[in-house]
Amino acid sequence: MVADRIPDTKAEALALLAAGGGPVVSGGTDLMVKRRRWGGLTPMIPDKAVYVANIAELSYVKKTGGSVEIGAETPLAVLLDHPFTPALLRAAIRETAGPGIRNTATLAGNLVNASPAADPALALHCLSASVRLESARGVRTVALSDFATGPGRTLLLPDELLTAILVPADDAWKTMFVKVGGRKADAIAKVSFAGAVKLDGGVLTAFAAAFGAVGPTILRSFAIEAKVIGLSPADVRERLTDLSAAYADVIRPIDDQRSDAHYRKTVALNLLADFIRSI
């Protein structure tokens, strides 16, 4: 019975997963579409699936230490209006799907779905967020940059539940989010960009650039980012050509039914240039 698979508490959910339950269904906005069948038939979701959207204790936003902690089952619509939501994440959620989907979709689903075109995931990547993975065996925290290993693939183990997202809370970030979709709402990104920079005493003390839909996973290059730390904005702008060339080497998009590789790469680099000019 499906009813047996709708736990009210995290502990129940972990117990179901420990007993071989799964997959986990969060907001269901990706899974219901992927597994849909002929109209009138229920989607092909296994009987042992665990539906976690009802777990109240996983729906919250709080500040803890240096982080904003977001319960994995918090709907995107709640985050859109929450005062603690980081500005870059808010900007990404504003451009995610439409109101109906945002009412039920969650960050956990967005991250575990591991689409390189995901909007909230791109913002979280850029902000160096991490995820808390819990199981009956224990708890671990994984950096988002390590979490996704390919389209739809992550480090999440079958008995683990993504319970929280931890975003380093820092109001000093200056950020930019640009989604290039086929249209202005209800679109999947053809290419997207999130940038975040911190300045102190006239030099960059932090710099992050994340690219969406240009490879199998969301792309960040810590090696390239490290090159600009300590430079002044004017210095960075001067090195724009070199930086673009460095990113051009690692951005490897594909042709598909939504766009083509040349466009994606060109626009990704245009957005990077735009961000660097804005610093």
């Binding site: 002929w38 109209g39 640009v178 202005k184 040349h262 626009v267 735009d274």
Partner: protein
Amino acid sequence: MTDISASIVRRDAAAKISGRAAYVADLAVEGVLHARTVRSTIAKGAILKVDVPPLPEGVYTVDHSDVPGENGVKIIFKDMPVFAEREVRYIGEPILLVCGPDKEVVDEIARTIVVTYREEPAVFAWIDSKAHYAYHKGDSDKAFQNAARIHTETFETGYQEQAYLEPQGMVGYPEADGKITLVGSMQCPYYVKNAVLGVLACDDAGIRVIQAETGGAFGGKEEFPSLTGAQVAVAVRKTGKPVSLLYERTEDVEVTTKRHPSKITLSAALDADLRVIGLKATVGLDAGAYLGLSGVVLSRALIAATGAYTIPHLSVSGDAYRTNTVPTGAFRGFGAPQMFYAVEQLMGHLAASLGFDPVAFKRRHLARQNDETSTGGRFRDPILLPSMIDDVLERSDYKRKRRAFAKDGAWKGIGVSVFFHGCGFTGSGEATHIKARVRLEKDADGRVVVRVASADMGQGSSTALAKIVAGVLGRPADTVFVPHPDTDLAPDSGPTVASRTTMIVGGLLARAAAKLKEAWVDGVVQSAEERYVQPDFIRWDEEAFHGDAYPAYSWGVTAVEVEVDRRSCAVTLKGVWSSYDVGTAIDELLALGQADGGVTQGIAYGYLEKMEIRDGRLRQRNFTDYVIPTASDVGPTDTVFVDNPFAYGPYGAKGLGELTLIGGAPAVTAAIEHAIGRRITKIPATPENLLELIEHGQD
């Protein structure tokens, strides 16, 4: 604004807003069998074998061998089979239906049926012409020989999907007397009926067709429901049970008709005064695997070869090519959007190369009252284009923007299109093929029921027709009823197509209402009928493509302003200004709904809606990948209707439905060209194409 234009509450508003309106998927039929279609997975080949697993009790397959009559769907010809028999010609071609009471079981069986093919090389190139037309006017050879200048360009347009609200659906059930009733989402109940009569080989009383509530059609439910209607009728005949065939969205996009891709080469000959005096046009359309309506679509495209301009010397020819792809068919505009896109672009490019403002150049060529049409007919009625253009330029602030945007490299642009639509069927179609009839039925309480075959599919025809009848009768509109058409109750007033419903059917109803009013006796049941009679002045020679192709013409001017993002080439609509001459707008709000919906669909055709086929398979099969505009994508619209009553239309009305789409693509393309300083010859002008043009294109 005349009285008739003052808006009333739409007849369908309450049912639709409350959710009571019953679309085809809402029909609950006791004991219904759900049908699933097994389709070709290859683009061309012979069917060697169909392996069907043992069927449980009560589950059926229905294929070509179950067709009692002819295995061909009558559209114009019967070239498309109801079910593929020995060969398949496109990916998605229907081979058989699986029908059963339990969807789970039907779905499973449909998946396990194995069709074995001998695959043959598919043809995707445009080499197999199945319809060819040509016509000439004046002496184009001489015009080109003496030309001061000749300009030639080739334009390409892509597919467009109708994207109606609910996918195709048809439900059929047997009546006690052996009759089969079909209820479905459709535009043309009598098209369905006539197609099914031949397929079942039954007499006229054997089939009844009723239109279910229909949430948009745009031509997509013109001829396609004849196929599903025939399939369901055969299934009902075989099983003796009710059968429901409802498409999913992806299935619908993959296998239903869409707008013909085109390739149009235009050569213009200019005289020493830099006027276009000669035009040669070569038009190619991709008909897909079966010709269907493609020949008629082609003829409407060819007749529009001169755009809204008078060009004395013409040589026009075109072909509709058969390929191993999904059949193309009717779509709002019916060949005209492709042709107007090409002509408007040609005129804009000519203007640019000659140093004219594009609108000024177009003005030099505008068709005027009493001019000869492209086919040697006559524009008999006043043409108000000059003042309509003035109005659109003023409202859009065109002249200032045109200069300002060009100067500061703002990546902003504004463009204007000028266009017409021939109202009603091409040529003598109304008189020779359709022969429309209408009937009014009055009961003892003075309520009047309008019996027509015209389908309200969201465009508001039930409201417009009620207003016309009530207006002529001089009675309140709420005493006049326009039910969904039912072929057992309504005479054949023709299909709901070709912008003919208000003008032709509404015109017949106005005459019937005048008759009824004349004979009106309170408390008595009465009726009145009318049938179409062609006005004497319309003369059309089908063979020679000569004469009056249409009884009337509606005209339009549209300006579009865009901003192009210089990082992503994404286009944002900043404003849309239009002026339309539809004779008289029968209901101003309804007309605005048609106008704003139409221009949005036309603009999206120009810059947004991209559908490609690779190896016979569509790459964009749902609304995630096939991008139609959302409310966020539509710019503000500012729409004006000018009064120019047509003597033969009810209250002076002409055609409205298709006109408003036609100017969208050329106007938005001209605006984008203005913004990026590059020439566009292919739509949709997607950001990917614009990037390519910016990198390698021609100024």
